[in-house]
């Protein structure tokens, strides 16, 4: 059983404000979802087992840092999508 305290921790981690009723509802949903997805626990017992490693290991995809956009080409358009901007910057509340 997942505790309400844990749901509140997730609320904070996810930066999503919720009502108490919704948190209680989520507590219930989490129980059935986690119970269902936990069926994989027994399939793999040793995470270091080499037969469980990927067939196609991931690799980094790199590119040269060239062909940059002309400076300022998209600035206005992108700033316009931000709810608040000032003098060519996106504006947020002070943090410190």
């Amino acid at each position: 059983m997942i505790e309400l305290k844990e749901i509140e921790k997730l609320e904070e981690l996810s930066r999503i404000e919720m009502t108490l009723d919704e948190k209680k509802e989520l507590q219930k949903d989490f129980e059935s979802i986690l119970d269902y997805v936990s069926e994989i626990q027994g399939v793999v017992t040793d995470l270091n087992d080499s037969s469980k490693q990927p067939l196609d290991p991931l690799h980094n995809v790199m590119r040269e840092d060239n062909n940059a956009n002309e400076e300022g080409l998209y600035t206005d358009r992108i700033l316009k999508s931000a709810p608040k901007n000032e003098k060519g910057y996106i504006k947020v509340k002070k943090i410190l």
Partner: protein
């Protein structure tokens, strides 16, 4: 002009022969789209510049140059795909008012063919759902029965095509979001191989699973649209390089061996009518000379559990960018932190909140190994299962969905019940292989004929195999 009978292929011939213009074609579809949309709500916006786009296509056609099969063809575009200068919201309140600042690569490619974009298609919020009920614009209805869902998350795209409100549409598929609505609405839906189509400019949900693909009336049309949007793109780092082109161009065989994962397909919870239809479809394919073989994919049954760990983990990360600072909506409070929390609390709907929280849970320290890392390991086992299976068979077949279209509201109260409807579609995303849903007939429920779909899966980059077998089934059903 009989728009019900038109396909991309036949409309293209008519355009070339100047039987009608793209303006005529576009206006016929628009008129029907506006009319049908009142009941069906497939479109959340119909663009005001369709005629201008069609005029441009007509100009290209009149110049007598070689034209693409997509030139002048009216399409619906899912609301998570960016078209410069147009609103794009993923049907979420949090992106209310957002105007795309650039074109997605798939849009750029389609613009180069002078295809016509009719409007933005409805979807589950951020593509999270299997019914198009979580859209902030209200649910889309199934054109075959207005009391039922069209499937999801690309339910608007599939309905737009099924109601003859567009000749074809683009959707996105993370766990079945093109194929399942395709099957519920009686149209073809293709999830291409992971990496075959660029996702640049498509709002990300789960980056290791997402693909963009076509929804169309016929397999041939799906193939034409897929051909127009596929290809390497340096702006999507998971896009594939030239090496794969060789695999894709491999000659297709005449007769295939079709594998059926029997213990997975004939399991509990699959509607008897769906199973009967599936068996009948297999018989039809056998009659054409294809072989059907029972195969074992022993770990396939864990796909859904793996998916509902990996997908929310990636979604919670991807959706961190919606914070009230850079795009769309801002709900102000007294600190920056509470600005984030208020904006996201107000802007995200219930299912999105649930998945972001679930993602945060499986990624949090203490649970990371038990959930996320184990899911990744089991995903690798499922991939090897597929690899082994494809040593014996060319194609794997399953029903697309265990049930036909369900009633609006029937599953929205119980998230797990909704998730279970993805059982057959999720494995292809986990393995990165291409899969396509092809209409396979109808099932009568409460006096209405509900469409069903058969799903075909093929090895990486063998979309051609899917098109070949899909056309065979299509011919049998005509």
């Amino acid at each position: 002009m009989d728009i019900e009978k038109l396909t991309i292929k036949t409309a293209h011939e008519h355009l070339k022969n100047k039987d009608f213009s793209s303006v005529d074609l576009t206006e016929s579809f628009l008129q029907n789209a506006v009319e049908k949309n009142k009941d069906i709500n497939a479109y959340v916006e119909i663009f005001d510049d369709c005629k201008k786009q069609a005029e441009l296509a007509d100009k290209v056609i009149s110049e007598g140059k070689e034209i693409s099969s997509l030139t002048g063809i009216p399409l619906a575009i899912k609301d998570n795909i960016l078209i410069e200068g147009k609103s794009a919201t993923s049907c979420s309140k949090i992106l209310n008012g957002y105007i795309a600042t650039y074109d997605a690569t798939v849009i750029e490619k389609l613009k180069a063919t002078n295809a016509v974009f009719l409007g933005r298609a409805n979807m589950d919020e951020f593509a999270m759902g299997g019914s198009t009920e979580t859209s902030c614009y209200g649910p889309t209805k199934n054109p075959h029965d207005l009391t039922r869902v069209p499937g999801g998350s690309s339910g608007g795209s599939a309905s737009a095509v099924a109601m003859n409100g567009a000749l074809a549409a683009l959707g996105s598929d993370t766990g079945g979001s093109i194929r399942q609505p395709g099957s519920f609405c009686g149209v073809v839906g293709l999830k291409p191989t992971y990496g075959a189509v660029s996702r640049f400019g498509v709002m990300a949900m789960a980056s290791s699973l997402d693909q963009v693909g076509p929804i169309a009336k016929t397999v041939e049309d799906a193939e034409l649209l897929f051909e127009a949007i596929r290809g390497y793109d340096s702006k999507d780092s998971m896009s594939t390089n030239a090496e794969v082109e060789k695999v894709y161009k491999r000659e297709s065989k005449e007769k295939y061996t079709i594998g059926v994962p029997a213990d997975f397909v004939y399991a509990e919870g699959v509607d008897q009518g769906v199973l009967d239809n599936f068996k009948a479809s297999l018989e039809k394919l056998k009659n054409l000379g294809h072989k059907v073989k029972e195969i074992s994919l022993p770990n396939l049954k864990y796909s859904l559990a793996v998916y509902y760990i990996i997908m929310p983990a990636e979604a919670s990360t991807n959706l961190a960018r919606f914070d009230g600072v850079r795009f769309g909506l801002l709900k102000e409070s007294d600190t920056l932190f509470s600005d984030y929390a208020k904006t996201r609390g107000f802007g995200f709907g219930k299912e999105v909140r649930r998945r972001v929280m679930l993602g945060a849970y499986v990624l949090s320290s203490g649970y990371y190994d038990a959930y996320y890392n184990k899911a990744v390991a089991v995903r690798n086992i499922i991939k090897s299962d597929f690899k082994k299976a494809f040593e014996d068979v060319d194609i794997i077949a399953t029903p697309t969905s265990p049930i036909p279209a369900f009633k609006i509201g029937e599953k929205s109260a119980d998230p797990l019940q909704m998730y279970l409807a993805d059982i057959f579609t999720v494995p292809a995303n986990l393995a990165g292989i291409p899969a396509m849903s092809v209409p396979s007939g109808f099932l009568e429920k409460e006096g209405k004929n509900l469409p069903l779909g058969m799903q075909f899966l093929a090895p990486h980059f063998q979309e051609k195999t899917l098109f070949a077998i899909g056309k065979d089934l299509e011919v049998q059903n005509k």
